[in-house]
């Protein structure tokens, strides 16, 4: 019995340890994004945004202050006095006895970092670009994949299997292989630095077609026969029967499409160079190069770029995880 509990204990210890390793970078990112840059530069690496502040204690009052100069021989420290918020200036160059200056730690969340990151770089614009591109790609993928998957699953025509296997074989080709010729082709089309370059090549997704086809094949033939007798056209069958009964797999497709577009990096990095077309990931990568020393701002920007998808994930985590599993087992 003791051995059993020991085993359970070790098991949970390992699982929790691994869980901590998985989330610690994110928590640390969030906490660093709330520190002041001065605190970071002074080597504050902890998880709680702590600042060292000085107080001038006199007449039973405790006032926040900043040390300007120390006159050691006179035992006097010159300070600027601030309001408790640390910003509003109250009095400057107050000569205070050194012993009345106390230093203490306090927790302070510098939400201002987020505001500053947004004023340094137009992340709002990048965010809207990403949302726009992701949305267009999502709609495109759902339409083209449903149509193609329906034909592959339910229609008889010459060359069907050949085209299907041609598609499947291209699914395995890694992006770096077609990136260079795509860049050349898009240049010829005059699409470099346009939204088309970010959207059009991605509105057909072979993997989605594959997933949907597998699903459409499982729909019982009786349903189709009944629909044909009722005089439904092929398109009506797809729209009124196939789509409604395939909602879960369509949601899976949508999730993959959204995650893929949101996190896509190399493609938009190569295909766009102008600032107003940058998507979030590209904007973030430029910001990382330009502001590499402003770590607090960098962490704010990273948090901001992760947050939407993370929130979506936390709300729909069961659905998302099972989507990854089903697609993994089918693929």
């Amino acid at each position: 019995m003791f051995k059993h509990y020991l085993g359970k204990g070790v098991q949970y210890f390992m699982l929790i340890l691994c869980g901590l390793i998985m989330v610690t970078p994110f928590i640390w990112m969030l906490s660093t994004s709330l520190k002041s840059q001065t605190a970071i530069n002074k080597g504050s690496v902890g998880f709680i945004p702590i600042e060292f502040v000085n107080y001038y204690v006199h007449d039973g009052k405790k006032e926040l202050c900043e040390i300007v100069m120390e006159k050691e021989d006179e035992g006097i420290t010159v300070v600027n006095i601030y309001d408790e918020d640390g910003k509003t200036f109250r009095q400057s160059y107050v000569e205070a006895p050194s012993e009345s200056i106390t230093s203490s730690k306090r927790i302070k969340f510098n939400w201002n970092n987020y505001v500053e990151a947004f004023t340094r770089v137009p992340f709002g614009r990048y965010f809207l670009n990403t949302v726009f591109v992701s949305f267009c790609v999502l709609i495109g993928v759902l339409i083209t994949s449903s149509l193609a998957a329906y034909a592959f699953a339910r229609m008889q025509f010459k060359g069907r299997d050949f085209i299907f296997y041609l598609f499947i074989s291209m699914m395995m080709v890694p992006q770096p292989i077609y990136l260079i010729p795509s860049y050349f082709l898009l240049t010829k089309l005059g699409w470099i630095n346009t939204y088309q370059a970010l959207i059009v090549p991605w509105i057909a997704n072979i993997f989605s077609i594959f997933l949907l086809r597998q699903q459409f094949k499982t729909i019982p033939q009786d349903l189709f026969d009944a629909a044909v007798i009722d005089g439904c056209s092929q398109f009506e069958i797809l729209w009124r029967i196939v789509i409604p009964v395939s909602k879960p797999i369509l949601v899976t497709t949508a999730i993959f499409s959204l995650i893929g577009s949101w996190n896509s990096f190399m493609w938009p990095l190569v295909m766009t160079s102008s600032d107003h077309l940058r998507v979030l990931q590209v904007g973030l990568s430029y910001f990382a190069q330009e502001a590499s020393s402003s770590t607090a701002l960098l962490m704010s920007a990273s948090t901001f770029s992760i947050a939407p998808l993370l929130i979506l994930f936390l709300f729909a985590q069961k659905q998302i995880i099972s989507s990854f599993v089903t697609s993994g087992l089918k693929g």
């Binding site: 989330v23 640390w28 057909a204």
Partner: protein, 313 residues
Amino acid sequence: MKNKKNYFPFGYILPAFIIVLAFRLIPIILSFIISFFKWTIHGPEKFIGFENYIKLFQDAGFWQSLINTFYLVIFVVPITLILSLFFANLLNRTKKLSGLFRTTYFIPTVTSLVAISIVWKLIFSPQSGIMNHIIGFFGIHGLDWLSEPRGIFTLIFGAMGINIPKFLGGPSLALFAIIIVSIWRSLGYNTIIYLAGLQNIPEVYYEAAEIDGASKWKQFFKITVPLISPTTFYVLIMTTITTFQVFSQVYLMTGPPIGGPLGTTKVIVYYIFETGFGETQNLSYASAIALVLFIIILTLTMLQKRLEKKVQY
């Protein structure tokens, strides 16, 4: 009626077909053609045959990037495989909190590599990072993670006072940092995939083994490992393909100059990127490298598939 049946289906495929043709098939074929030409952004200039491929063999930068990529794959793939199977096993035997664990493990999978890389770069930073504080507890001090070009084996043996030849040095500490991040990123997804595989193994096998008096270890090696092998091959192939294409981590974590220190983190996809879109803009040479990468990935995938057929139960 018959005519209608034969004519219309293609209309359904057409939208997807046009896109796939224009942005997949043609580029893939073109990539092959470009690599045999002197090709600029304006188009082909002249046919050069195998010149690019001959150049590859003498290009030290290419070989270095290939070796770096192999280091990455050799470390990331087996470690991910073992760790994810291990944690999937633990999760499989856990009822309480198992949903919470699954969610936490999965978070890195859905977050962007760009943000992840930026965060980990700071984590590894000797001045403001947390990594050196953590390993400080274990008595290791002052590692200059992302700017340390010496190999990890050189460092380990060096600490023991043994000098080893340079070619046995292993991946640089900087590349090792990227290895850590890549494992961390792929662990959750593979654990969940393994977990699904484990849940498909019928409980009766274990019950029978229990009755026969087989130990837990024996059950693991005689039941779990063989029956999970289809999942193992899936994980193996997917992780290998993904690891060969690591780019964002190198692009965002290392440098300046990117790929440093001393080019020890320059992986092949970054090398393609640099050749094709950097200062030289040598599209045709970059295409040749990309094709070599493709052939390597294809060969490895086929080898793994063949191995899978041999060990099927």
